[in-house]
């Protein structure tokens, strides 16, 4: 029997994080759950352990405390084979327009924290010569819209970061996967009216991430394929019309 591989899941209390970690555990992986709220992460860790028998550990991590990243990676029981970062904070666009602190929180949570952490792990993976990095970005980063451009801009930055990292690491045989889930029925979107065809369940996202990262060689995935033409259409609208749309 081959020794089991290890997943580091960053964002271990989110619905997508829980579903993704469960999927990896069901496939026989060991799981490290990193989250800011350890007590909530422990609920998910217990659940995954009880359902699958997998070894699951919990590690405190705040993606805004970038100074702590080095020691965080240092204290992990093992350098993971794959890291999946699902951290995201939709924030409140209107609030962010007037409140710099809130805007900064959205930008840092969606871009700075995830990018710096994956960047650090990329160096460790390079040194070891293996590893897969998965970043959950967003279709909101494909084009800025008036209703959520702070979030969208941060995700656009993250998408560009992942693209550049992939470009750099590909020749060394390391993979970087960008995931754009589209709408997902989660705590983040509770109460929103979402079009069913475009809306995925967390379990669907978990399966798509596992398949993309471990079973295929794809670089950028939309969880529901319908999003690709949708975003292509949105991307092709000339700016002079786009700016007048209420989106």
């Amino acid at each position: 029997m081959t020794p089991s591989k290890t997943l580091l899941l960053v964002g271990g209390t989110s619905d997508i994080g829980r579903a993704t970690a469960l999927h990896y555990a069901q496939a026989g992986w060991q799981v490290q759950l990193a989250a800011r709220n350890e007590e909530e992460a422990r609920r998910n860790a217990d659940d995954i352990r009880a359902r699958t028998g997998a070894e699951v550990t919990v590690h405190r991590l705040d993606v805004l405390e970038t100074d702590g990243f080095e020691s965080f990676v240092g204290t992990l029981p093992a350098l993971p084979d794959t890291v999946v970062c699902v951290v995201g904070e939709l924030g409140d666009q209107a609030k962010g327009q007037a409140d710099i602190a809130h805007a900064s929180l959205v930008l840092r949570t969606n871009f700075e924290g995830p990018a710096l952490l994956l960047g650090l792990l990329a160096e460790r993976f390079l040194a070891r010569g293996s590893g897969t990095l998965v970043g959950v970005s967003s279709v909101a980063g494909d084009r800025g819209r008036g209703s959520n451009y702070l979030y969208g801009a941060a995700k656009a930055g993250f998408t560009a970061f992942l693209s550049g990292l992939r470009n750099r690491l590909a020749p060394k045989g390391l993979r970087v996967v960008t995931v754009k889930p589209g709408f997902v029925r989660t705590q983040m979107t509770v109460g929103m009216k979402l079009p069913p065809v475009l809306t995925a369940e967390p379990g669907e996202v978990g399966r798509a991430i596992f398949t993309a990262a471990e079973k295929s060689s794809r670089d950028v995935i939309y969880v529901r394929p319908i999003w690709r033409p949708v975003m292509m259409a949105i991307g092709s609208i000339p700016e002079r019309f786009f700016k007048r749309l209420r989106l």
């Binding site: 217990d46 659940d47 009880a50």
Partner: protein, 444 residues
Amino acid sequence: MTELTGWGRYPRHPSETISPLSPKAFSSLMASRTGLVARGNGRAYGDAAIGERVTLMARGLDRIRAFDQATGRIHVEAGVLLSDLLDIVVPKGFFPPVVPGTKFVTIGGMIASDVHGKNHHRDGGFGDHVESLTLALPDGVVVTCSRDENPELLSATIGGMGLTGTILDATFRLRPIETGWMRQTTTVANNLDGAIRALQETGSATYSVAWIDCLARGTSLGRSLIFAAEHATQRDLDYLRPDAKPYPPSKLGRLGVPLDLPSFTLNRLSVSAFNELYFRAGAVKSGYPFLVHWNPYFFPLDGVGNWNRIYGRRGFLQYQCVIPTAQAQPVLGSILERISRHGHASFLAVLKQLGAGHGDLSFPLEGFTLTLDLPVSDDVFPLLDELDRLVAEAGGRLYLAKDARQSPATFEAGYPGLSRFRDLRRAIGATGRISSRLSARLGI
């Protein structure tokens, strides 16, 4: 505000709904709001899981916290669905100690209703198997309840319809099984007397239940099929179906009822034909033990999604009473006679034997329990009031998890533990703070 109903889709009440995602969020809501009750998967039939003002949706508490495969002890949050639990534990060789007639219920709901199964005469209710639970009290304080710690609170919470606080998690023991199959034996009873006798005789079986053709009349009144079953052993499997997998998958095809059927679909003739078919199909198999998958044995109606819609838009009432053993035969006979005379269609007429009860607001007591489905119509209410009188006179009671319409007087007559329960509610500050439409209707 959302309009909520139970599984019977009668009555309908507006309520604010909140879906807390963590045990902490539950306890802080408990402390800050009043007129609330927790709701699991909404499978209580009447108004038990509709808050007077606020309904706390408990499905967010869906984590399994520990599962010890050496002892079968499992610790789960209250919003975990029984169906989810079964998918996890059956392939590992375990089965819940007690299951109700549907697997689409939460563990919290199973405790709050102290659900019974086809094995109550041997194993008691689900509550009897709960080793400990965590309860968020009306003031938000979280306490552990077990046989050693807060035993009165544990006892009142079992069958307490969520009125002592919100159950956050629970620990109980599963029973070991060798296969996922049931070894079933079917016998035929030609009338009610025969059915009661057959249930008493099959009392040594772990599981037993009688399906009554409640449209049969005269000397055939109460004619039934009695299904007795055991968890099949590996030897049973080798003998009866050597090619079968010990743990067959539970995902069987599901048939759905997508729309409300017009209520005339269920007239006397169609139900009569259904019962005739059911009775014959069962009678053919009579006498020989055979293997059936645990899923259709325990949860036959779960195969039909949204079956509650076959009764039409007005909804339906499930009437479930228990009559003490000594009076069971004559009283259940008059109930069946009245139902039959009235011509009200009842898809489901199930008769089970119950063992000694748990007390407080828990339903079971030593006797026989009859369950009937009746579509809501103007003349069904006076009929049921009449049945209530028969039940009360016989020292019986109605199941709160099914109830949507009994009067406070019927309720008080059936539950002698009520005043003690009210005292406990007052003592923990639950009166007025934790209240469902059911508790308001019945003055609990």
